[in-house]
Symmetry: C2
Subunit: 217 residues, 2 copies
Amino acid sequence: MKAVLILSGGMDSTTLLYDLIDQGYEVSAITFDYHQKHKKEIACAQKTCAKLSIPHKIVNLSVLNDLAPSSLTRADRDVPEGHYAEESMKQTVVPNRNMVFLSLAASYAIGIGAGHLFYAAHAGDHAIYPDCRPVFVSAMSTAFHLCDWNDLVLQVPYLMLSKGDIAKKGIGLGVDYANTWSCYKGKERSCGKCGACTERLEAFREAGAADPLEYEP
Amino acid sequence: MKAVLILSGGMDSTTLLYDLIDQGYEVSAITFDYHQKHKKEIACAQKTCAKLSIPHKIVNLSVLNDLAPSSLTRADRDVPEGHYAEESMKQTVVPNRNMVFLSLAASYAIGIGAGHLFYAAHAGDHAIYPDCRPVFVSAMSTAFHLCDWNDLVLQVPYLMLSKGDIAKKGIGLGVDYANTWSCYKGKERSCGKCGACTERLEAFREAGAADPLEYEP
């Protein structure tokens, strides 16, 4: 079955890529460059697709940065430190980001005749990102049934999993986590302090494994 | 009340702009440049916004042309002639176009603190464009209630009107239809034969008025 996966280059979507290949899907990946500070994730997505021989489309979406400023994209706004689920993390919300990604990925999926669209939202995202919540996924799922004359099925298989569960699954699938990126600051090494690092380190602890990435001391 | 309107520069959305101003909305307009052959509509949108002193954002969305080819955007595909509601018009469907437009317009609306998002789908669109149908609008409306922590209301007031009804309304509102564009071919003068021209001429006939645009002989 033909499927399109929104691949950020982070842990979750990279795990889902391995998972879908394992399940026998014929996957095409799509990655969005919206001038995020953590551009390293895009390079990771590229390497992973090259390694796994997956067709990969990188979409220049600088317009999102222009339309919807957030601390993830603007040089003049600092990325907050602390736990991913804290109120301060709301500064990292790019308004309606997932609907924009999903809608463009759907255009692509319809264009290449893929009947399935995957993204890797997970349970840890719900508190901060409104567009990762099950109710949002459910509404979008209905919209995807109706946006084209052919059916397009939205699949979000990690929606109720924690990031730790995803890491466990990925370790079992042989995911190369050295080639994934999470840190929102996007410097040479991961900061270990921003919401994305905190959550990533927590996930590896939960999975009882070591994170292969290097962190700032 | 602050509102964002998706303005193509065609008859319907231009009429809706006049209508919203008349109703007292504080409107910002957003127009998408997806390398459509009928780029003239963008120039019309610009002129209308300048004339009415409406903030206007033009978004470069050439990526949609790349992701989702259609006869509206590709030089190597001819725009079909004939009635708008015919099967052949399906070649003019840009897959999932309206969801892409709506999702980016919503990012913009959330960013500027507008609680209302308008687009001008109408009853004549339903047969050919899946993403103009009431069921699609209803699903997107739900998704917009959920995509952000604040509510965003999707409004599609012309959904059950014919294009003739819209023309009648617009004539009453003093819309300058000489400064709107419909023809899909986007040449010097309107072709009078493509689906968009056929529908436009029908609308003016229904409204009992003359179309101020010039047509090819």
